[in-house]
């Protein structure tokens, strides 16, 4: 019994940590650079599908299945999502701030269409199964398997966290902050804001892709339904709760929000009669939306975040 509980906890935490990776990616884009991405689900999906195509065994009914190692899949997923992010960023970052938001929204719609409709590559609505899982040799022992995967994911989060902290303190991170604080002054110093923003957006997208790949390998199958707009909303809620601009907050926010989400979903399926469950789920989403707005209104720096954020960027004016 208690062993079951531990392996369930390990499963839960591993899932939460995959969201933490997405959240870290979003934090580079939004928290540190102020770029609003409404298409998180798209970048996660690109990473997941790219990795799945690279690593699954050859399948007769679709293209690909290259049977490559999982690590190659992870890298490929990050690369593909990074490329997509670079493309969207290059197109919009020099324009109005909200054009990027609109474009990423478009990417989310289009990627969802692509994974549904390019059946020969993505398996259509059924998705892709038989994605190799790390430590598959341990699958006979759920506890060992769960703990090994948890350790792997925790390791990934730790490495990313350290790398991002390092990056934030590096000259590159300082330029990014300078641009955020005072774009004109940074420009005067010869720093090209568009280039730095684009780099940040691309890195963030690549991290989301990595998260998608890691999550796909952990679960073992992927389908278009995993990458609906609700995923984007969840990651946003995680970062906002954690406090944007703060990597530790991003991780804690992911675990917290995923916990609340999973618990309330479990409560819905346990206590709400089946015919009412769709409605209850809708109400759950209403809460997220209202919660997001309330936090923006009441706690613009996040619930547990401490660091300075973008939320009151007033333009510096001539005295």
């Amino acid at each position: 019994m208690s062993l079951d509980l531990i392996s369930y906890a390990a499963f839960f935490l591993t899932m939460a940590l995959t969201y933490a990776v997405m959240c870290l990616g979003l934090n580079i884009q939004w928290g540190q650079t102020g770029l609003f991405n409404v298409g998180i689900a798209a970048f996660v999906a690109i990473g997941a599908y790219a990795s799945a195509i690279l690593t699954t065994p050859d399948a007769p009914d679709r293209l690909g299945g290259f049977d490559l190692p999982i690590a190659v899949g992870w890298l490929g997923g990050a690369l593909a999502a990074g490329l997509a992010a670079w493309f969207v960023g290059a197109l919009t970052i020099r324009l109005r701030a909200d054009y990027l938001a609109i474009a990423t929204f478009g990417v989310a719609v289009s990627v969802q269409l692509c994974v549904l409709n390019i059946q020969p590559l993505t398996g259509g609505a059924f998705g892709i199964g038989f994605i190799p899982r790390p430590f598959n040799s341990l699958a006979g022992d759920p506890l060992a398997f769960g703990l090994a995967n948890l350790a792997l994911m925790a390791g990934l989060v730790l490495v990313l966290y350290l790398a991002l902290q390092h990056l934030a303190k590096s000259p590159w991170g300082r330029v990014l902050r300078a641009i955020r604080e005072d774009e004109v002054a940074a420009q005067a110093l010869g720093k090209r804001p568009v280039r730095f923003r684009l780099q940040a957006f691309t890195i963030g997208g690549a991290i989301m892709g990595l998260a998608g790949a890691a999550q796909g390998h952990f679960i073992g199958f992927i389908a278009p339904d995993n990458y609906l707009p609700i995923l984007t909303f969840q990651v946003w809620a995680m970062l906002i709760v954690g406090g944007s601009g703060n990597n530790r907050g991003a991780i804690i926010g992911a675990i917290l929000v995923w916990g609340i989400w999973a618990l309330s979903a479990a409560a819905v399926s346990a206590f709400v009669p089946p015919e009412q469950q769709a409605r209850a789920a809708a109400l759950q989403i209403v809460m997220i939306g209202v919660g997001l707005c309330l936090i923006l209104l009441l706690r613009p720096r996040g619930l547990i975040g401490e660091s300075r954020s973008l939320l009151s960027t007033r333009k510096s004016r001539k005295p």
Binding site: G34, F36, V38, L91, T92, L95, R96, A97, D98, Y99, A101, I102, A103, F105, G106, V107, V109, S110, L113, C114, L116, N117, F233, W236, A278, R279, A282, L283, Q284, I285, V286, I288, G289, V290, G291, L292, C293, L296, L297, P300, L310, L311, S312, T313, R314
Partner: protein
């Protein structure tokens, strides 16, 4: 290529154009992309449904179809009331959310984000209230009439096109010929100067919310009449609305309408050429092309 796509495209484009006018007006006055605008279409459609149902319950005669259309008088009456209610919804949303953020001097992107949260809540609230099962204003079936040239249209479709033309002309005259229209253009160019010149900027903002939401209600109700009513009705139109608003040039009413028709016709053409499953990608392609080639749109001012 079957010429029918022109009719289908015009009808879809008219709905997109009406919605895009709302987006472009609120964008030019409030200066942020409102992701909740799509929900005004959905709420408008459901409000019209509810009011129309209520009217039909009070007086059954109102639901008897007015020949040659598929609906009875209850729907046009309901639409008028629903326009008003959707306008109030937008004003309420502004009062509790956006106005507070504005007065705090929040960055544009915070307003975008708040609108994103609001859209999520509004849409799911509809799903909670009405479930995701499609609803219809009427059960009556309509036979399409031949218009010549191999094009057919139902009376409802033709009526919707007619209503759209009237609404667009009225909005255009309102903007160019009236005092409130002049004030709207002034606020859109320079809100600070508008205040100094004696314009009550907050009143103009309220007016724009109301007009934008009213237009959204008309577009949503027409979409509901011609297709079906679903909680995702507006959300699925949001990308076409944004594409049309940007293609037309932010702030331009004729631009938004023309761009709406372009988007609608392109979608209908794409459905014939590559298949219906790719319809939603058309707006994205158009959006990318505009941002790449002419970011200020067809009739927009240079940034």
């Amino acid at each position: 290529m079957n010429p029918q796509f022109i009719m289908d495209g015009l009808v879809a484009g008219a709905m997109i154009g009406l919605g895009a006018i709302g987006v472009t007006l609120t964008y030019s006055i409030l200066r942020f992309a409102n992701f909740a605008h799509g929900e005004f279409l959905s709420w408008g459609a459901y409000l019209a449904l509810t009011v129309s149902g209520g009217l039909g319950f009070l007086a059954t005669g109102l639901t008897r179809p007015i020949a040659p259309f598929s609906f009875g008088w209850s729907l046009p009456f309901a639409l008028v009331i629903a326009i008003f209610l959707t306008g109030l919804l937008a004003l309420a949303l502004d009062a509790v959310l956006f106005a507070r953020l504005r007065s705090r001097g929040s960055a544009v992107i915070i307003l975008v984000m708040a609108s994103f949260g609001a859209s999520l809540a509004l849409r799911s609230l509809l799903e909670f209230l009405f479930t995701s099962k499609p609803a219809y204003y009427t059960k009556a079936l309509q036979i399409a009439v031949r218009l010549g040239g191999g094009v057919r249209a139902t009376p409802d479709q033709l009526l919707s096109l007619g209503v759209t033309v009237v609404v667009v002309v009225v909005i255009h005259l309102l903007l160019t010929r009236t005092e409130i229209g002049r004030s709207m253009r002034a606020v859109s160019e320079n809100p600070a100067l508008a205040g100094i010149a004696g314009i009550d900027v907050r009143r103009v903002i309220r007016f724009v919310w109301f007009i934008g939401a009213g237009l959204a209600c008309i577009a949503g109700t027409m979409t509901g009449l011609l297709v079906q009513i679903r909680p995702y009705l507006g959300h699925d139109l949001l990308l076409p609305l944004f594409s049309a608003a940007i293609l037309g040039g932010i702030g331009s009413v004729p631009g938004a309408m023309i761009a709406g028709l372009i988007v609608g016709l392109s979608e209908a053409g794409a459905v014939q050429l590559v298949g219906a499953e790719w319809r939603s990608a058309v707006s994205f392609v158009i959006l990318v092309l505009v941002l790449l080639l002419r970011p200020r749109g067809l009739f927009g001012r240079a940034a």
